[in-house]
């Protein structure tokens, strides 16, 4: 599903990625590791279609509608409520039976009771849960998750574990993390960036 060969990315003089190769078949689960500044986020942004490589080739066999991207930022509006944010994304992603899907995700991630509150009033962990709802809303075939466990408490992390376990066999994953132990039971490939 993802194929990259000799991929490189530079911002001006600064080279962020160099000679990265990865073959991730449909249904695979790749874990990307590496220290801060090693280019994990850049690599994931390229795979999600948010950035272009400077050199090399990358092929992602998924339409925009089939990609779910979780970045460092939650990509939700702080002045809107959780419900309004997910309704907006559901509209843009043409999610069928949008209301039911939004309600189910908010319930699952423990945000149903605060669905009418503005995101600005949420804790960082609650915002991350909402971001996960946004990623899963359109049931993507490819999930590109950048540090998905960031800011989650133990209950949130367990919820995410359960979600990953549930989707593991049906979806393709590209996950960057500083805690590879957490997802190693799902992994079929590992990419260590220097």
């Amino acid at each position: 599903m993802i194929s990259m060969h000799k991929l490189g990315k530079s911002y001006g003089e600064k080279r962020v990625l160099r000679d990265v190769d990865l073959e991730l078949p449909r249904g695979g689960f790749a874990v990307v590791t590496g220290p801060n500044g090693s280019g994990k986020t850049t690599l994931l942004r390229i795979c999600a279609g948010l950035a272009l490589p400077s050199v090399g080739e990358v092929h992602v066999d998924a339409e925009r509608a089939e990609v779910g991207y979780l970045g460092h930022e939650p990509l939700v509006y702080r002045e809107l409520t959780a419900l309004e944010n997910l309704e907006l994304y559901g509209r843009l992603y043409r999610v069928p039976e949008r209301r039911e899907r939004v309600g189910m995700l908010l319930e699952r991630f423990g945000l149903w009771d605060v669905r009418h509150e503005r995101v600005a009033s949420y804790s960082r962990g609650m915002t991350q849960r909402l971001a996960l709802c946004r990623v899963l809303l359109h049931d993507p075939a490819l999930l590109v998750l950048d540090e998905p466990y960031t800011a989650l408490d133990s209950q949130g992390a367990e919820l995410l574990d359960a979600q990953l376990g549930e989707l593991r066999d049906e979806r393709t994953f590209l996950v960057s993390t500083h805690e590879p132990v957490r997802v190693e039971r799902f992994a079929t490939a590992q990419l260590a960036l220097a």
């Binding site: 991207y69 002045e79 309004e84």
Partner: protein, 212 residues
Amino acid sequence: MNYLADVRALARKDLLLELRARDTLPAMLLFVVSVFVVFHFSLPSSSSDLAANGLLWVAIVFTALLGLGRAFVPEREQRVFDGLVLAPSDRSAIWVAKSIATFTFLALAELLALPVFALFFHGVDGTTIAAVLLADVGICGVGTFVGAMAVVTRARDLLLPLLFLPLAIPILIGGVGASVVDAPGRYLAFLGLYDALFALVCWAAFEYVVTE
């Protein structure tokens, strides 16, 4: 139909954000009234109506610039722009919706600004109002397009006026012309042509602006 529904949802979101945050329209209102007050006391009492017309258009362009500078702030602060760009909907819908929202804020600011102008200087006729509305369309369309380019750069606060003001010169020419001549038809037509031409260019090119 999906396209229009996307535009409606995105524009509604922008209006809702402003209704809650209230950080664009009040600033525009304060600015435009302040400008007229300053002009009122700095212009000699013997100055002509022609000079006052010029000031009206300067105030409109700079008030619009204030609104345009804030247009993409919610998207920039939470990097929501990434989320919108990733969605499978047509990306030009983002531009259309943001232009509609900016147009609404500018028109609301002018709803107060024009009576204040009439109070301090001279009355505003129907031709000037038509010219202002036509100019608003061009200002918001082009300004939103340029704002989307500027928002991803580090020097966005500098880049927006640098890119926008040269593109707004034809609007000023058309607006001032329509306000001061006896037969404003060709100036209004010029503004209409500018709106149509730049709307088409911005609509078609927006996809490339938001793609790296």
